[in-house]
Amino acid sequence: MSRYMGTSVKRVEDPRFLQGKGKYVANLTLPGMAYIAVKRSPLAHATIRSVDTSQAEALDGVIGVYVGQDLLDGGASFACGSLPCGFTPPDIVTPAHNPVAVDKVRHVGDAVAVVVAESPYVAEDALDLIDVDFDPLPAVVDARGAMDEGAPLVHDEAPNNLSYHWPLGDEEATNDALADADHVIELEFINQRLIANAMEPRACVAEWDDATESMTVWTTTQNPHTIRLLLGAFTLGIPEQKIRVIAPDVGGGFGSKIFHYPEEVITPWVARAINRPAKWVATRSEAYITDAQGRDHVTKAKLGVTNDGLITSLHVTTWANNGAYLSTFAPLIPTALYITLLSGVYKIPHIFGQTYGTLTNTVPVDAYRGAGRPEASYLLETMVDLAARKLEMDPVELRRKNLIPSDEFPYQTPVALVYDSGNYPALLDKAEDLSKYDSMRKDQETARAEGRLVGVGFASCIEASGPAPSAVAVGLGAAIGLFESGTIRVHPTGKVTVLTGSHSHGQGHETTFAQIVADEFGIDLEDIDIVHGDTDRVQYGVGTYGSRSAAIGGSALVKSAEKIREKLKKVAAHQLEASVDDMVYDQDEGTISVAGSPETVKTFAELAFALTTADNLPEGVEPGLEETTFYDPANFTFPASAHVAKVEIDPKTGEVDLQSYAAVDDVGNVINPMIVEGQILGGIIQGVGQALWEHGIYDEDGQLLSGSMLSYAMPRADGFPSIAVDRIETPSPHNPLGVKGAGEMGTIAATAAVSSAVLDALAPLGIRHLNMPLTPEKIHKAIATAGNGGGE
């Protein structure tokens, strides 16, 4: 019986946020602090002829101005290295990425010079006084166009702008199956560029301690240990034990704060060069041209189906835009987190997928919420809808025909993954009930008869969360293992500090991880503090991305708790003069007793203190009570979902009215339903954002046209109906909590479901496909071209 697991405990981290006490990096001020501003390229591609910093240097309040070569040379600081790529499949070309550009700039926003001043306002003023002489070069922005003959070269060492080619599956068998299929559905489409827009802009503060020759870096990251490792091994060359990276409260990440960014090199470099604390805070405008962006695929897909709706084969070729430099995990996203997901929740005998990873004069692209998996689900669901339309079948019926049966787990797909558990038919059933699917279809018939454009969209999706195990990930090209660490430190009074390698930037680990530990011991939640985000306090850890924290970081804590309970049993057995094998740990009460004699108990706190006095311990038991686990999971976990959206389109304006949305998700066992629901809801709205509004648009010269919150259509409060959410629970069989990832499922399903609904609404007009975002302008044009003005 658990007291906290499965209950909606209110978040313990909230009071500080509610009262304006959040410790975000931008809030940090240190004595003697200097302020950094970065001069950025206004051009997407140009040779730097010269940089004249003399006027800026002469400005009152300016401490120093530095160019790219200064950072490479080191001067009064370190000689900086190239920002590394942390996922390198075979034959990849990884061009150098200097923190500040030296000879060439390769995207708008590429750093050209660094100003350090006594105040942020003066630093900004000085930027305008730096004179950069650029020689503009032609730019390339398109994922597939980058490989065209004669396209401008982004890096000389990458011919055809190709960084990597990643094929998976049996192409010959897939082509044979397509040739034998009754119908082959073909589609070429775009999955558009997105911008993460975590509400907290990135920031970095660094302090150099000249006495101990050590560096402290506060940075807005999802994975402080990874940043420390990369600073130590690649970019700054400070011995790793001399670097402390602190990621305090971080205001959202969605993937964009995983990566090692130039400013995380520039800021500590400056701190040592001037021997003063230094601070850099991104403006939102800078975020738009420097934060790694998401998606941006061009894809050609072929789906083979039989007359009765069985999917036989899928062939996919994708050109994935990686931007101007390979961001830390960029090549992982459109390969091992995308091609491997192409089976979805379906039994598809033959699949072949390949990705061409290209370089362009755009902001680097890397993981953004879902990261490869929403691209796969959108592809698959769009193709399945087209198949249903071709065969004149109900799209849910066609899906149901192809689901992996619930008795076939573990299920080996043709694209490498082995699904751990699931019950997809139950998901579909529940989603149909929750959305009242049948009556929605009847309403749609009536509406269509009246000439109204009403659409129902359905998406049933898989996610692979918590990439694992380390041996497989590293075999595919990952530079580090993907385990997680968890230490439980029990203090003499029985109070507990938990040190986790996971990082919370909105997920609520300070609550959910305390729920886990409280139930492991039978102690009160208030007696547990969760510490994360500080490499000097927490043992090496991997961090938070890919919906991994509960399944991997949480499991590490369960394992550490087991070790502690075993130790406590030994001490209790010794003191109660009984055999260890007869000891019973009561996890409801937090007590240990001898089996059959529940009246004589030792409490958790008593035993913790006994390990502090250490005067009456059994032989071989060390004093103190602290255990650490590095938990390497056996597999990913595989959450799944079925979402239903209903839209009506105004034929006069092309505007989409999202009228209802129902989501049923299976994320395994649930630690805190309120928090899981919050994750799903937030994810859904980001998915709706991609389907309807969001688009990082570059013109042919590489200028980001939607480069601010004025022009990039962020979801606002008024764009949605109330969302209905429900769930089923099929526990993951391979982690001790039975949990699966919950952070990305909403996004993975919502993009597909809403796009499906809009295309369903437009299908009677003969409109087969439209690329996202499904804006009023795009829909209005499509309606006009389809020769139907909507009854006007």
């Binding site: 509610l18 304006g20 931008a26 939102r284 909105g506 980001q686 919150m709 409060a717 969302i723």
Partner: protein
């Protein structure tokens, strides 16, 4: 330029550059870092404070324009250590995740709910158009504001 104002009930005065934004004055000069900066185009609302009884985006007001006015920031919302009903409502309804938009969201919501204890979903959604949240999908924020409005009972 000299500016004087009342911030969270306390008189403050300072010599500021004329171009100093109110949000920078509050954060840097007064050390009240609860008011966050989320954008530079007055879109996101993270920096919302109360100025003479109105919810305003403090990135869009110069400190000198606020001379002589009454300012309340998120740090001044609680009374005698008791959180404001709207703060409690955001906690109860899980109306926040990363917490970065939360101070601005709460300051805007307090004014939205002022005199409107039975505020509708639509009015909340419309009223918060100028406050972005990337985490919650707004669903629980709408619940929180309605809950907070009811608890405020029409007052502040």
């Amino acid at each position: 330029m000299d500016v004087s104002m009342t911030v969270n009930g306390k008189g403050v005065s300072a010599d500021v550059e004329p171009r100093t934004l109110l949000v920078d004055f509050v954060r840097n000069d007064l050390g009240l870092t609860g008011t966050n900066i989320g954008c530079d185009t007055s879109q996101c609302g993270s920096c919302t404070v109360h100025l003479d009884g109105m919810a305003v985006k403090s990135c869009t007001v110069l400190a000198v324009q606020a001379d002589g006015s009454e300012i309340t920031t998120i740090e001044g919302l609680a009374t005698n250590g008791q959180m404001h009903p709207m703060q409690t409502a955001f906690w109860d309804a899980h109306g926040l995740q990363c917490g970065f938009c939360t101070p601005g969201m709460i300051m805007a919501s307090v004014k939205l709910a002022d005199g409107n204890p039975g505020i509708s979903d639509d009015d909340v959604r419309h009223g918060l158009e100028g406050n972005f949240c990337r985490c919650t999908g707004y669903e629980n924020i709408v619940k929180a504001v309605k809950l907070g409005a009811a608890a405020m009972g029409g007052g502040q």
